[in-house]
Amino acid sequence: MYKKQTSIILSLVFSLILSMTLCAQEIRDTARLRLNKQIATNTFFDKSKSTNDRLNAIKGMGYPEEATFNRLISFARDKSEDKDIRLAALKKHRYDQAYFNTVLEILADLPSRQV
């Protein structure tokens, strides 16, 4: 009788440990992914990094937060930025009114022979 109860208790404990382990693993994975996303986002907006590093980072940015969308627009409008960075920022942005306004703004700024 005691043996049976012990087996049941051991099984329950084992299941609990396993599920906690899996849950903790998932939390760790999510935290790691968030960290990677943050690093990639910071890298892209870091003017001290090389253009290549910044362009490579954009693939790790995932779907942007609202604040990130605002920064992408700012960078796309920033004439002091590298043109590849400006283009990458624009391509990363969703197609909303801010996007189209920025595109029109850039087009208006172009010398006529480049339009």
Partner: protein, 898 residues
Amino acid sequence: MAGNSLNKYSGVQFFRDSKSTGISSMIPFMYLFFLILLLSQCKCNKDILFSGWVVDQRGQAIADAVVRINNDDVRTSKDGKFKLAVNAKEEYFISVKHAEHADLYRNSRTALKDQVYILPDASVKVVDPAATVTLVDERPVIDGIIRAGATFTLPPNALVDENGNAPSGTIRGAIATLDLSRGEGPQEWGITDGSGRDGFLVSYGAVFIEFSSMDGSKVYQLKSGMSGQLTLPVTPSMESFAPATPSTPFWYYDKKDGKWHEAGSSSYDAVSGSYKGTVNHLSTINTDIAKFENAACLAITLDPSITPGHQLRIRYHSGGTPFGQVPTFTMNDVLNAAWRLPANTNVLLELLNAGGEVLSNLVVEDPAGTPLVNTVVNTGAALPSGSNLWPPTPFTTCKQITLKLGAPQVEIRINEQAPALAIDNPTDDYLTWAPTYAMARLASPGPGDVNIVLTNDNPNIGGNVRFAPHASPWPNNTTATATSLSLTLPASGAWVPFMVAGELATPSIDDKDAIIEVHENSAAGAVMGRKALMVRVRKNANTLTLGEKNRLLFAFQKFRNKVGGMNYILAQEIHRLASQAGDEAHHQPAFLTWHRFFLLQIERELQKIDPSVALHYWDWDAAAPNFFAEDFIGAAGSGAFTAEPDFSLTNPLLGWDTDLPFSGGELRRNTADHTLEPGSLGEAFMEPLDDPVDPSLVNFPDYGETGEFGLVSSFSSHVERSSHDVAHGWPCAGGHMVTPTRSAADPLFYFLHCQIDREWAYWQQVHNRLGVVSAGVLTFPNPQHYENAGSWNSPSNTPDPNYRQKGSYLEDGLWPWDGTTGGAGVEQRPPNIGTGVGSPGDRPNSLPTIPATAFPASVVPNLWPSVATIPLNRHCIDYLGRFNPINGLGFCYSGVPY
């Protein structure tokens, strides 16, 4: 005979006396008048009573069908039933006629009682007989295999009525390719040669063609010397035999003598799998080989275990002479016969109950009482040449067999509540996660009640179902969850109701691969019956099996090639127009609802072509390399910024013609690599549905607004602008998909919008916004009814032409199903509503007119709408029918539970 003599004599007397005058001269006339009246009322000879039930292929009653037996006729009542007493004759020629269906003919020597007559649907259209007329059968499913229907072309002015007069104005043309394997078409196959010798036909295929006046009162025939061109597909069971028969006559059935007569000639076309040729007489037409030798017959005796009234079906099995027709008849007596069968040929016998389902416990015995393996019988020796091939009762010259039933069997119906339909509707055996009504009974009444247990088949292959005891009314928000169910079936054969639903983890992968097993007494008991059905679910397109992919692509191809009625081009046009003037379907609150209705209508059209298909979704939160592949939606084309996608040579989408004046109708898509995970490209991509790291659509708790004024923080706004809009241009726009005026030309459109609808369904599930009102909150933001509220719900509460479009309110009817057009401001609706119907000839210079028809009624009972209805936004919110089980929409998504 004495009466006749007296009558004749009196007539002579009358004419003799008519030379005199006065009242006395009228007496013989009055005597004659009353005698004639008396005789005309006399039914003393009309003592042969026929009765029956006329239904369509889905088991629905056909009212007002004309049943004619020899020279008497009657119309069916509202419930499709009729009774007709006729004079006793040696032979009875029965015809059943209805304007929307192919005629049905039967010959009999005895009265037929309580028969079920199933009329095949016909493709009917209005035609001008003064011009060339082409009829194309729009029933693409023949024999359960997707193939072309028959085509008939008639030269101008080729028709006359029975008096030789040409029709004036437009008339109706009807065509139906008959599925011989299901017993469609006449059941009598007799012919007579010039010397009166009796023979029979071996059929390769059949079609019904008829031209009639608009009111149906006149039937037109080909003028003498005129003929039409017929392309008649070979019935699938004969496809392997047709190449050996390169030419064969066409024959037409004459209901006056119940026999077939030659009506032209045809040649086999291996490419189309059809016989093509000319026809000089209209009716039910066959392409057949005539036989005057080697005919046999079967004399069939019923054991007491089988009551008369069961149907017997006879199929070609092996050896001897192959034939395409499947004689199917109700055995009206203990002794029955089947005649005009090829001799020395193995045939398969199937016993059907009143619902048209095959009883698996049939036993066929030879005269020695020996059971025949698998109910296959050899037809035996030929009758003497020149003898009557329809032998007289008691059929002593025929091969003798006896039919009996083994252990009692159980019959199950899905999506039905008592009283049952006359036949089991084969198109309603489809489930989602939502519960639906079902019922079971003993197929043959037995000596006592029987306890049964319903389970899934074991081992399971394909879909699984869950059960629940019946309750009326069915409780809200509840589905069937039990893995088995015990029922007691009464000995009387009465139906016992229960509930059934698809099992979330186990949808079907093939048509009717979910098997309910009926066990006697316990789940381990003997199997007393099986019911095959399908758990039909919208799935991730990237994970489909080859069969699932191909069935859907073929259905799209057939829908694209369909002529007239709702077809792909008309659907494409509806979306194009919807996105123009008065666009309630985009950047308005009805974006999700309008597209849910639109997808549902298209899905149901595809299911008319193949009931086993569902729309599936492009899940862009992960890479979809199996979806963007040459054997599915197409791989990226090469070369320019946009190009035709690459399709494999066997893909039905190969050469897809958009019928739009854009690159010659060729399908165009951008040439970027679509097989990658969208988020991995470093470019704009669709906002995820539910991601642990990224901002996600599911994080917006409010349905909220989606207006013309840009993105706002609500689910509907983000799902449209951040998900849908981006997807149409992903990854860098170009091609048909990028603009709503032509996006629906690309089949990819339907997978994209299915994903959008799935995102809504998922959001509904997570936020418990499943009913029109959930937890006291409306799930749709605008409760007012546009037409009635007088309130525009704009910030100033006054009409604002830039604000919400008509159709944006919960109780609003949606275009085009409400039939409106024109108007201005927020009341503006797209143009081009009318009574016209699109056809290829209309394009591209004259695009099809959108027919002013409401959303069509569901062919499956217990689903919205039961009758054609103008859809309101509220109708599609509770898509699973959680709060009204008979008003679900009949679809669900893998991964989005009940």
